[in-house]
């Protein structure tokens, strides 16, 4: 306990260079929800591994079990079958050495922006507080929120609120970052900027990121690996390796032929699954009718 606290302190204090975090392995995980309308299978026998320092995105249609997946990995909900290992520990209760950005920005309405960001420091009793306070200010500035430290969340726009919750997940500099569609509520401009900021933070912190998104090009731009999921019950359709897109990623990345190739490949997977229609058919609807 004391050790892990010291670790966290050191990490925040010295930006060191080796990849952090532990291997996350998901082994044959299924999740069945008991709902009013009977059992509902959200994830079906899924297995994969994420290595320390990797940036992995999960792409899949709405309702396919992506959020469920993050919950299971972080130990917030138990899985019905299989197990999750982080390092050599089996996840059986909430795993606290990670940052979680939830799909809905959940801010404490009664706390100021700064105090919301400092919540993990407060609850995990991380020391020294001043150091983290400094980091909180840095993060808020990077998120374009300087000047709002003492505002209440209800005085912020939807996108600003989500940025606050991202800062909150980052403040303790966790080795694992789980992000559930963090940029879903942002406009396209801010979203692009946040993508670059996230990459910057990630490359500095060497943490592992598991990133959920609906946006194919965002996933390709950010990730080392993309896990493509099927409709519910969620299964892995394919795992794409994006190591042919060099880092650091920037404007030119999007001009790479490989960039578009990956996007098209993912589109094809979704078209084959009937998740995307693939556009107008050659013999149009009207023709068939007449």
């Amino acid at each position: 306990m004391i050790n892990s606290k010291n670790d966290e302190m050191n990490r925040a204090a010295t930006g060191h260079s080796e990849k952090r975090g532990q291997t996350v392995s998901v082994e044959g995980v299924s999740k069945v929800y008991q709902t009013a309308g009977g059992p509902l299978k959200a994830i079906e026998r899924t297995s994969f591994k994420i290595e320390p320092g990797e940036f992995v995105s999960v792409l899949g249609p709405s309702g396919c079990g992506k959020t469920t997946f993050l919950m299971v990995i972080s130990g917030l909900i138990p899985c019905t079958e299989g197990y999750v290992m982080i390092g050599d520990r089996k996840v059986e209760k909430p795993y606290t050495d990670l940052g979680f950005v939830f799909q809905r920005d959940i801010l404490m309405e009664w706390r100021t922006v700064l105090s919301n960001v400092m919540l993990p420091v407060e609850i995990k009793k991380l020391k020294p507080v001043e150091k983290y306070q400094e980091r909180a200010h840095e993060l808020l500035e990077m998120a374009g929120l300087s000047g709002f430290e003492n505002s209440l969340p209800c005085e912020l726009s939807g996108g600003m609120r989500q940025r606050v919750s991202i800062c909150r997940a980052l403040v303790s500099d966790p080795p694992i970052l789980l992000m559930d569609e963090p940029f879903g509520a942002l406009d396209a401009l801010t979203r692009e900027q946040m993508n670059d900021d996230l990459l910057k933070i990630w490359s500095k912190s060497h943490s592992m990121v598991l990133f959920i998104t609906h946006n194919i090009s965002e996933a390709v731009y950010l990730s080392d690996k993309i896990i493509v999921m099927s409709k519910r019950p969620g299964r892995i359709l394919e795992t794409l390796d994006l190591s042919d897109l060099p880092r650091p990623r920037n404007m030119t990345t999007k001009e790479f032929p490989a960039f578009n190739r990956h996007i098209n490949k993912i589109r094809h997977i979704f078209v084959n699954q009937g998740i995307l229609s693939g556009g107008e058919e050659e013999t149009g609807y009207v023709d068939k009718l007449s």
Partner: protein, 283 residues
């Protein structure tokens, strides 16, 4: 972040400064409340004119001006009795809160308490508590105790129900957040569930203040030797209608003052209330 948006957002950051001058505040209050004030004054005027023109006898319906006069003339005696009533109301209210809120916490955290105490409480609402007054007199005799007990009983239920509702309204994601941060049970309560439930708890307290006055007055009706309810009974028996109205006004003022006191504390504590936020945005 190098976004042009940031500059725009900053210009909105000016918070309304607190209006320092009392005069300015009164002006603002009138500006906000003028419709309520106008309709209130309107009703009083119509009442006054009607009573004078129709020559309604004072023992049926006294004119507002006459009531006001009685309120002032009888103030030494009525104020003395007001203190008794106020004392019962406040004590009953505080005891109701001091038992009600912890009980609500117990109900929220214990399935057993929910199935037993809460179920019983809800069922007990079928009993008109006012009808318990004679019993309470039998048990606690005359004096202040039975009145405080009735007041407590009246306050109790809305406080418990609203606290339970408030504490249970925490969104599941917030509880997940607490867990993933490794918050202890106590921290989850104190840093997440309780503050999140505060708006609802205050709603319960506000309902309770009004009911507290009802409780105290009923207690005084049944077994008073002091208090506004007691005096009102006596005056009514002697058909001193003007005096009865004057006491009614005292009771209303008492209720309004208490309600506003709680509202004031609420505004101080809950600065994040969406309704307040909505209203502030309209200014």
């Amino acid at each position: 972040m190098a976004l042009p948006l940031t500059a725009l957002e900053k210009t909105n950051d000016q918070k309304p400064g607190p209006s320092t001058h009392l005069g300015a505040r009164v002006k603002k209050y009138i500006a906000n409340q003028w419709m309520a004030l106008a309709s209130f004054i309107g009703v009083i005027l119509i009442w006054e004119i009607y009573v004078r023109l129709a020559k309604v006898p004072a023992y049926v319906l006294p004119a507002p001006s006459v009531i006001l006069q009685a309120m002032i003339e009888e103030s030494p005696e009525l104020l003395k009795h007001s203190w008794y009533t106020l004392y019962e109301v406040i004590l009953g209210f505080l005891i109701g809160g001091a038992i009600g809120i912890p009980l609500a916490i117990l109900i929220v955290y214990s399935k057993f308490a929910e199935k037993t105490i809460y179920a019983f409480l809800v069922a007990s609402q079928a009993i008109p508590k006012v009808a318990l007054a004679p019993l309470l007199i039998a048990w606690f005799s005359y004096g202040m105790t039975p009145k405080i007990v009735i007041t407590t009983l009246m306050c109790f239920f809305p406080i418990v129900v609203n606290t339970v509702v408030g504490l249970n309204s925490t969104p599941s994601e917030m509880l997940y957040l607490a867990r993933s941060l490794g918050a202890s049970g106590f921290e989850t309560f104190w840093k997440f569930r309780f503050p999140h439930g505060l708006p609802s708890i205050f709603a319960g307290l506000k309902v309770a203040t009004s009911l507290a006055v009802v409780g105290a007055v009923v207690g005084e009706y049944v077994a008073g030797v002091n208090g506004l309810g007691y005096v009102q009974m006596i005056r009514a028996a002697f058909v001193r209608t003007t005096s009865v109205f004057a006491i009614l006004m005292y009771l209303s003022i008492l209720g309004i003052v208490l309600f506003n006191l709680i509202s004031y504390i609420e505004k101080r504590v809950i600065r994040w209330d969406p309704k307040q936020q909505f209203e502030r945005a309209q200014e």
